[in-house]
């Protein structure tokens, strides 16, 4: 692995992308800003002194993505074809989740633009709310996925979302306990939201061997799994629709998904 922004003498330089193939590229970055529950309530009710907080932060994020090359020294100026910013108000964790998606047909990736968009959207949220809450914390900024280009598609590894203990393959010494696992699947909108398709979870990690405990355990691993708390979400055990109090056995396949819309 080499750092392409360093030349043979270890000096910083801008990578020549003229000979690179153009391809459709997309990157998604996420982050969050934590605040007092009262601040979040004001934000969702539109009661903050500076006006529509989310609309302003969205524009700020989009503008920032377009100007990434002015901020990051060796970044190319890109003709972005799309920048979208989404906010999710999380009252359980008292924070706002920010996600940015950037897209273009071009020769370089757009993850720096997505990261810049998320960062500036978070900074704008801070600015818009700081009159009532100075203790807000911006955090967990990272790239979730990128597609297109020579290095191929990349999605944040499930390992980063769920501790390695949950994936027995990754540990050299497999204890008898860790082999008692269930496979967890996510479908459709829920899969996209969480960014995970399949997981292996050790039953020993759960408070109790049932689906409620599995959901609880997942939501403590990563805030994205909070989407499972939505009452619309259905679950199946071994391909049979079941209720959340259903017990689990080693080897079971558990699936979570939104209401079905076939036909």
């Amino acid at each position: 692995m080499t750092l392409t922004h360093l030349n043979a003498r270890g000096e910083a330089h801008m990578v020549d992308v003229a000979d690179k193939q153009e391809s459709r590229r997309e990157a998604v970055a996420t982050g969050k800003i934590s605040m007092q529950p009262e601040t979040l309530a004001l934000l969702s009710d539109g009661g903050l002194p500076k006006g529509d907080v989310l609309a302003t932060a969205r524009i700020a994020g989009i503008q920032a993505a377009k100007r990434t090359h002015e901020l990051i020294p060796l970044c190319h100026q890109l003709m972005l074809s799309k920048v979208s910013i989404e906010f999710e108000l999380d009252h359980t964790h008292s924070c706002v989740h920010v996600s940015a998606r950037c897209r273009l047909n071009g020769r370089t990736g757009v993850e720096m633009e997505a990261l810049t968009a998320v960062s500036v959207a978070c900074l704008t949220l801070y600015d818009m709310c700081k009159a009532v809450d100075k203790g807000m914390i911006i955090g967990d900024i990272g790239v979730e996925s990128k597609t297109g280009g020579k290095s191929g598609d990349w999605v944040r590894d499930d390992l980063n979302k769920v501790s390695s203990k949950a994936l027995p393959e990754s540990s050299l010494e497999k204890s008898a306990e860790s082999q008692k696992t269930v496979t967890v699947l996510f479908f459709a909108e829920l899969r996209e939201r969480i960014g995970v398709e399949k997981l292996s979870v050790s039953l020993g990690d759960l408070g109790a061997p049932d689906i409620v405990s599995l959901k609880r355990w997942l939501t403590t691993r990563h805030t994205d799994f909070m989407a499972l708390e939505n009452p619309r979400i259905l679950c199946a055990r071994n391909q049979d629709m079941v209720s959340v109090d259903t017990m689990l056995k080693p080897g079971d396949e558990v699936a979570f998904f939104p209401p079905v819309t076939g036909g």
């Binding site: 998904f257 939104p258 209401p259 819309t261 076939g262």
Partner: protein, 150 residues
């Protein structure tokens, strides 16, 4: 017969396989669901159908078995497509054969009403304004509940 596939289906061929050399069949009812160019938003350019392989087939088989317990049926075919489809494409076909028409009509509707609310398929619509996952419809839930009362 229950099948989930990407490829288009040939309604005529399915009709033949349902009823060929069967002289006890007096009625065949069929339903074909298609992709519309408008739904929750106008200008639907395409949709992607995702499913839960294994569970989908199991649920469809169970729905057909329930229909066979409720009505006297000679044969049933359900084919549902997955993957990317464009407006005008067929999505699903249900063919029900029986001795008399009432059983065929009712069972065909019953199978579709249960499929809509129980079979693990999900639609994502692609429009000029962007992509979105289709929401479940309350009317579909009511249509299914009708059969529970009856």
């Amino acid at each position: 017969m229950v099948r989930v596939q990407q490829a288009p289906f040939d309604l005529n061929a399915l009709y033949h396989s349902l009823s060929a050399e069967r002289t006890d069949i007096g009625a065949v009812a069929s339903f074909v669901g298609r992709v519309r160019d408008f739904n929750e938003q106008p200008d639907v350019e395409a949709l992607t159908l995702e499913h839960y392989p294994g569970m989908t087939e199991a649920v469809l088989t169970r729905i057909v078995e329930q229909a066979e317990q409720r009505w006297s049926l000679a044969n049933v075919i359900v084919v549902h497509r997955v993957g990317r489809l464009t407006p005008g494409d067929d999505i699903v076909v249900v063919l029900v054969a029986s001795a008399h028409r009432h059983a065929a009509f009712e069972a065909c509707e019953f199978i579709m009403d249960l499929l809509k609310t129980q079979a693990p398929f999900w639609k994502k619509e692609h429009t000029r304004q962007g992509d979105y996952w289709v929401s479940e419809r309350h009317s579909d839930k009511e249509a299914r509940q009708r059969w529970e009362q009856g």
